[in-house]
Amino acid sequence: MSLHTLTALEIARQVRAREVSASEVLEAHLAHIARVDGLPGRLGGDPNAEPDKVHAFITLTADRARKQAAAIDAKIAAGEDPGPLAGVPVTVKDIFCVEGTPSTAASKILANFTAPYTATPVARWEAAGAVVLGKVNLDEFTFGSSNESSAFQPVPRNPWNPNHVAGGSSGGSAAAVAALEGPISLGTDTAGSIRLPAAYCGVVGLKPTYGRVSRYGLIAFGSSLDCPGPLTRTVADSALALGAMAGPDPHDSTAATVPVPDYLAEMEKGVHGLKIGLSPDYFRITYFDSKTGELVEQPVPEVIKQSVLEAAQKLAQAGAEIIENVPMPHTRYGIPAYFVISRVEAASNLHRYDGVKYGYRTPDSVEDLRTLYRKSRGQGFGLQPKLRILMGMYVSAAQYSEQYYARALKIRSLIRRDFDQAFHSVDVLLTPSTPTAAFPIGGVYGDSVLMQYADQLLVTANHAGVPGISIPAGFDESGLPIGIHFFAPDFREDLLFRAGYAYEQATVQEAWRNRNPAMLSNS
């Protein structure tokens, strides 16, 4: 079996057992990336270049990775244990600082920024033996659900169908994992940005509890919502990856002091006796049609609903108790509240980009500092950051903040209350990940309202802080992946892994598990 097809768990086992070296694993992945990834994203790049390639990367750091792999192999040779991620090649969403590498946020305004330090989740993975392959693409500053807003083109394509988006904002992460370019990627999730592209690309995406993983070194979007988390091909790799990065951090006072369990051991405990809830509020979607100005409510497509109901049946056969009709009445307000809260936080976080301390500075001659700010920000930011800044300033202005911001924060309380009440009667909730499979490239981009509504079944976890995981659950009639999703109470990622792993085990024999992404068929 080719080394690049192995899971992280299997790679680490083989490296620690000296069956293969970290350098061999790395070279196998680099060779595969050279075959399938194509041109990296770059400023001014052609969005239509090489439409049969993945384009996950912005920066491949092969030399840095070779040094790390050599260091792992030296440890093994010296009889030391490099750690639970020994020799595992990982990719990192380019919204994290990694020392000595460009850390761009997929924005022109940070295109020339080289990070002087490494983000905590990356540093912890490296300390556990991981080898960082490089930085992968995303929506500019994570602002999107398709990856199309990146200033670095071409953007990732969906490995299962290159005419469709990989999803976003962690699109490079999901595409890289699906296309076997590395078994683990570090993403971030502010409204669904790990779980949505995971569902679109047929991989596992985990948003941990807010505070489970340090945000130190993560370029901030919505500071009360942002969560770093892993994208993987299996639930076991997700458990492995979370265990290696979770826990308190002196550099982030919101990283909670909750002990980190042995997630891999917990995962094996099965679902016998677990109460799994289904909510009618997650089987319908509400969205705002910008063209007609009407609010439209409709059921999720039948294929999506059936995938969830079939999963419930399989979990029941594995010993879980299914509880139907769990009310989650404030689900539909998740996106409108998010439009307010995330914009206020984004506007605040984006004020630091000023053309003075780091990043882009206008080359135009300017008469004063104020003009320098306006030109540097005007030329450096793309449309999506500008949109978020302006909305954030409007809804938090003194005369409007009671009407908008305070109201949104109260509704956030109600969304949280939905989960608190649900978790009195169930251990986890089982829902669809997304209302549809991956949409065509160009199909939604530009309509900022419709784009945001793709996240509506996921964003509630960000408001409430609770963890969520998206797991591959087959394909729709056009051959695109679809995902199912579990929510659990605060810091109960162990329950997500138990439910997800049980589902994986129950479907291991199904024919759809043998399918491979179209982009890999010629490699």
Binding site: P116, T209, P336, A347, R377, Y394, V449
Partner: protein, 106 residues
């Protein structure tokens, strides 16, 4: 439906946000702002108990799960010159900027 964000209000926001925009960008941004506000108005349909607390984050941070405050000590950065390397223009360890708008007093 009339636009909540008029061209005048939009211009005021752009000024506050310190952004220079092309006319095409301004058209797109003002249209999308108004579309998003129509979606946001859905929040007004929710009957809201005035005593509903605001939630600035989802997870309740109890003392049991919160890290203790660090001692308030100055920790010098090991290599300030390296941080300055990321700045567009520096001189003698200072960040260089053009004229700062100001008024002379007295």
């Amino acid at each position: 439906m009339s636009d909540e964000i008029t061209p005048e209000l939009f211009q005021h926001l752009v000024e506050l946000a310190a952004l220079e925009l092309s006319p095409e960008e301004a058209d797109y941004l003002r249209r999308e702002l108004n579309n998003q506000l129509r979606a946001i108005h859905e929040l007004e349909a929710i009957p809201l108990d005035p005593n509903t607390p605001i939630a600035s984050h989802g997870v309740p941070y109890t003392p049991e799960i919160s890290p203790p405050l660090r001692e308030d000590l100055v920790e010098p950065h090991p290599d300030p010159a390296r941080l300055l390397e990321t700045a567009p223009e520096t001189a003698d360890g200072y960040l260089v900027v053009p004229e700062i708008p100001h008024q002379r007093i007295g």
